[in-house]
Amino acid sequence: MNSRVILVNIFRWMVLLFIQIFLLRNMAFYNLSTPFIYVLFILVLPFHIPNVLLYIIAFITGLTLDSFYDTLGVHTSACIALAFVRILFISVSLNRESIDEPEPSLGNMGFRWFSLYAVLCIFAHHVVLFFLEAFKFTSLTYTLGRTLLSVVFTLFTVLLVEFIFHNRKSA
């Protein structure tokens, strides 16, 4: 990992968390659908990052979010689940030795691969997040509905950001 990659990722971390904490935290459609754009940071971390480092980064990201959301542990667990699904999906769908792209962004991997990857990761993250927040199964349909609507919203914002900033190949 060279220093440029590290700097780019630190910059991305700060910008995405800033947007999430100070802008999107106050945003929701009828309390049902809330976007969590900061997951994009974990989604586009470089391919060759060691698993343990990925988990540590996800843990710290979640903990920071939790501090600002007053929900200690909820976002942390959700981010860890996201990191796990990321590792699983990449190892199933790609051959680890033959990866020649630096990071799994939309511009590098194409729309089909990236959108499937994003849907699965975001869904894992949101399921853990909303069920830990509700912390019960009595309002199952409500929580599930909230999860699915938020997945749609988050996916929309993630793809939007990716289309704006990462569409290098087609440009």
């Binding site: 698993n51 903990l63 200690l72 542990g73 942390t76």
Partner: protein, 279 residues
């Protein structure tokens, strides 16, 4: 031993997942059982200061509404003052208890972090121990209505557990016939304009439009108007009824609150140490 090592390193993603996820869950559970952790919450000085800075901008955007509500409150106070001035003092027969005279003192505070979208919402205000705020003090809003209870205090900040939190219950009465009830946000309620009053005995006749006020116990002064009954037909199946009410207070635009300092809070609390749920 070597095989075990190979096994572990081969599936390292899964084992790391178990370790980290367990850590996350433990954090969550601890956090749910105990009150919010002071270290990572918004009572934290760093996080609190960041929110405070950001709030300067937000305050400008909301100046119009704040102005309006201040003007409305001013008008209400002036009306009250006129009422007092016009009372013929020779006619007053009921003498107010002078010991109780200053039972409640209000401490004004600014809300700089607010949420209405979560299951358990938390507010943060810019007053703390330094300003005389202590845990479990009642909090009311600028205009009409109740807000909640102080949950955590640090030197300069305090968090408030508002009504929009599953753990909050406030003792209220029906203004018309003093039927006692317990005001909660409700289990599957996510509308910040609605709340429920539980445990009112079935024999009271309640109509849509009746006003709910605070009962005077639990730190709130008696007679603060909380909301209006909008639905009386919720069946519970037991001898108590549940009322749906619309709150006068709009939690999403909360800017200033008053923390109620009750002179006798300690004394009352020491008399009833076993009462825990009904605050």
């Amino acid at each position: 031993m070597r095989n075990l090592w190979i096994f572990l390193s081969r599936y390292n993603a899964f084992f790391f997942f178990i370790i980290f996820f367990a850590a996350g869950i433990i954090l969550t559970i601890r956090n749910n059982v105990y009150q919010r952790s002071v270290t990572f919450g918004s009572t934290n000085e760093i996080v609190g200061t960041a929110y405070k800075r950001l709030n300067v901008i937000k305050r400008y955007l909301n100046l119009v509404q704040v102005n309006d509500s201040l003007a409305a409150e001013n008008a209400a106070l002036k009306t009250q003052l006129l009422g007092i001035a016009s009372i013929d003092s020779t006619q007053i027969t009921k003498v107010k208890d002078t010991i109780n005279h200053q039972q409640y003192t209000l401490i004004a505070a600014k809300v700089f972090k607010n949420s209405v979208t979560l299951t358990n919402n938390i507010l943060t205000i810019n007053k703390g121990i330094k300003d005389g705020i202590a845990k479990d003090m009642a909090v009311i809003s600028l205009g009409k209505g109740v807000v909640g209870f102080v949950q955590n205090v640090s030197e300069n900040f305090a968090t408030i557990r508002p009504l929009l939190n599953q753990e909050t219950a406030i003792s209220v009465v029906l203004k018309k016939d003093n039927a006692f009830g317990s005001l909660v946000w409700g289990d599957n309620n996510f509308d910040y304009r609605k709340a429920y009053v539980k445990e009112i005995p079935n024999h009271y006749k309640v109509k849509v439009g009746d006003t709910i006020i605070t009962s005077g116990s639990g730190g709130f002064p008696r007679g603060i108007e909380v909301g209006r009954v909008t639905n009386t037909n919720l069946s519970t199946g037991d001898s108590f009824m549940t009322l749906e009410i619309t709150l006068f207070n709009n939690f999403s635009t909360l800017q200033f609150v008053y923390v109620v300092k009750d002179k006798f809070a300690e004394e009352v609390k020491s008399l009833q140490p076993e009462v825990k749920n009904e605050q």
